[in-house]
């Protein structure tokens, strides 16, 4: 038997590389759309509307929404990549190339998640870049207040949504499921997750209800990374999100092991 190695051995690295190349080689389908969308967001919310909206917690509106837009782009791309890649592989059955290989189920899951999280992070960086260009041109350049937190939140939220994407990719029965998940699950969570407003503007009970939405902690944490301002204790957010991410990764591995959606 050849040495297919440990969980992170040659097999894992090959699948990871395959998954990354799949989107890197098609930037027009993968990186251009979020870039264009966010140019539009910044133009409309930041410049056209932004001047008419009061400062929030002392920040100009365009500055305040930047972290939220980064989160929105990062997690939806992490989710979409994992769900699409797995579903497309199931649909055309080429996921069998990996399934019939001596890769451990953990290796397979980690490769899909790592590649998808990376795509989320790259999109997040692109959106932040677009934001900085707009800010520099219209107001003033801003820095990153808490780089350590920014990196930590960026990692944990993209891993979390990549692992949700794995579940989605296994569950989907046709391509419409992918659209449905994005439109009816992710978007509402994001729009009520404090991307475009501070929780403080909400009356009760909506403020308390919002705390049940995991997106709130994600947006708040990333905002803390960029601006040094948070509604919720960032360490608590980080701990809760890490716990959740670990749980969903474990679920993914269990689903692969059971062959859910993969094996007849």
């Amino acid at each position: 038997m050849s040495t297919s190695g440990s969980v992170l051995g040659v097999g894992f690295r090959t699948l990871l590389r395959r998954e990354i190349l799949r989107y890197v080689r098609r930037p027009r389908n993968t990186f251009l759309p979020p870039m264009i969308t966010n140019v539009l967001y910044f133009a409309v919310f930041g410049i056209v509307l932004g001047g008419r909206i009061d400062r929030i917690a002392g920040f100009r509106y365009i500055v305040f929404i930047l972290p939220g837009l980064v989160v929105l782009g990062a997690i939806s791309n992490a989710f979409e990549n994992a769900s699409f890649s797995i579903f497309h592989g199931r649909w055309n059955e080429y996921i069998h190339e990996a399934l019939t290989s001596p890769l451990s189920y953990t290796s397979m899951v980690l490769a899909y998640i790592a590649a998808s999280a990376l795509r989320g992070i790259l999109v997040g960086i692109i959106i932040a870049g677009v934001g900085f260009v707009f800010l520099t041109a219209t107001v003033a350049p801003i820095g990153v207040a808490r780089p350590g937190y920014l990196v930590a939140f960026g990692l944990v939220i993209t891993v979390l949504f990549a692992s949700f994407g794995v579940v989605g990719g296994l569950w989907a029965r046709d391509f419409d499921y992918l659209t449905v998940m994005n439109q009816f699950i992710i978007r509402p969570l994001v729009f009520f997750g404090g991307v475009f407003y501070s929780l403080d503007v909400l009356p009760e009970p909506y403020r308390t209800l919002s705390l049940l939405n995991p997106m709130v902690y994600m947006v708040d944490g990333v905002r803390y990374g960029f601006l040094g301002y948070a509604d919720i204790d960032p360490n608590l957010s980080l701990a809760v999100l890490s716990g959740l991410a670990a749980a969903v990764v474990a679920l993914d591995v269990a689903l692969f092991r059971r062959g859910y959606g993969l094996v007849d």
Partner: protein, 339 residues
């Protein structure tokens, strides 16, 4: 003693509304060239998919080189190279990279994976198409590629699920040669096919399965011995009615166009006695032609008796007919090709 390449016991697979395997027990020894024959829906692909982990068995045992296909799934899968019946190739990458990836999943480092990918493409003769995507290959090239992908991890067990479906005669012979070379080099081969001639030519042993059960396992030669051979004799002065022949094993004697047709089990062994007997009766034999019973004939008999007049749809367009023409037997008239 070396564990068998494939060993299953009482293998059962129930899908939602069909039972595809009903207690299939099969052993394929290391180094064998083993054929799995059976009509459409017999359960051949299901059997294979249990081994590689694409189908979860309902009950029974399955091991590959002694590794349980579920408990030791990584060892079992590492030993297998599979060319499946349906195309399932990564469409995002050119075929050379698809092979590199497959090798990589088997733990082969990048440089060596590239070397093996190129070697596999050369073996099947599509190296000049290496930068093309699978979708843009011709049907025959696609079949070649499926074999290349099965070979790239240098498997100890090569599983080929109808590898020559829909390919031309030349390519079929090319593929046979490659597979035979692999077998000569020690690779165990499990082949399913609807071209019975293919099994007859290539396999050391064949299993005939029907409706998820094993009907028979034997060498093609042994199976053919169970059929009836036809001996055709030219006579210098043919009589008006067929002469009597009192020899064991003879099932029928008839005259057609002045030639004597004798059907018998193990016909070739009978020929000397037959000529002597005719001679004693005053008939001078001018020429003799023996047609062996074809494996196909035996196969059809076995699977027909299994389902006793039930649906028979095993002949995909022309496959059985073409194989019959190839063996030159009178199978073409004896065997009713339904549809």
């Amino acid at each position: 003693m070396a564990p068998p390449a494939i060993h299953t016991r009482d293998l059962v697979k129930e899908y939602a509304d069909v039972t595809a395997l009903r207690g299939l027990s099969l052993t394929v020894e290391q180094g064998e060239f083993f054929g799995l024959l059976g009509p459409n829906g017999a359960g051949k692909t299901t059997f294979i998919n249990v081994l590689v982990g694409l189908v979860r068995k309902t009950a029974g045992e399955a091991t590959v080189f002694g590794h349980d296909v579920e408990r030791d799934y990584r060892e079992a899968r590492d030993a297998i190279g599979l060319a499946p019946q349906e195309f399932n190739v990564d469409r995002f990458f050119p075929i050379r990279e698809v092979l590199e990836h497959k090798a990589g999943y088997h733990g082969i480092p990048a440089a060596e994976a590239r070397r093996r990918a190129d070697e596999a493409l050369k073996t099947v003769g599509i190296y000049d198409k290496r930068d093309t995507r699978f979708d843009w290959l011709s049907g025959g090239m696609k079949r070649r590629f499926m074999l290349a992908r099965a070979l790239v991890s240098d498997p100890d067990l090569l599983i080929l699920d109808e590898p020559t479906a829909g390919v031309d005669v030349q390519l079929r012979h090319d593929l046979w040669e490659i597979i035979n070379r692999m077998n000569d080099a020690g690779t165990t081969i499990l082949l399913t096919t609807h071209y019975i001639e293919e099994a007859e030519r290539l396999c050391d042993r064949v299993a005939i399965v029907d409706e998820g059960r094993k009907v028979e396992v034997a060498s093609p030669g042994d199976l053919m011995d169970r059929g009836t051979d036809t001996i055709t004799l030219g006579l210098r002065n043919p009589p008006a009615t067929p002469p009597e022949v009192n020899l064991g094993g003879v099932t029928d004697v008839s005259l057609t166009d002045g030639r004597l047709l004798v059907t018998a089990a193990r016909g070739s062994a009978l020929v000397p006695d037959l000529i002597r007997e005719l001679d004693e009766r005053g008939f001078e034999v001018t020429d003799v032609d023996i047609e062996r019973a074809s494996l196909e004939e035996v196969f059809v008999d076995m699977t027909r008796s299994e389902r006793a007049g039930g649906r028979r749809d095993e002949s995909e367009d022309g496959e059985v007919g073409r194989a019959a023409a190839g063996t030159g037997g009178d199978a073409g008239t004896d065997v009713e090709v339904s549809r």
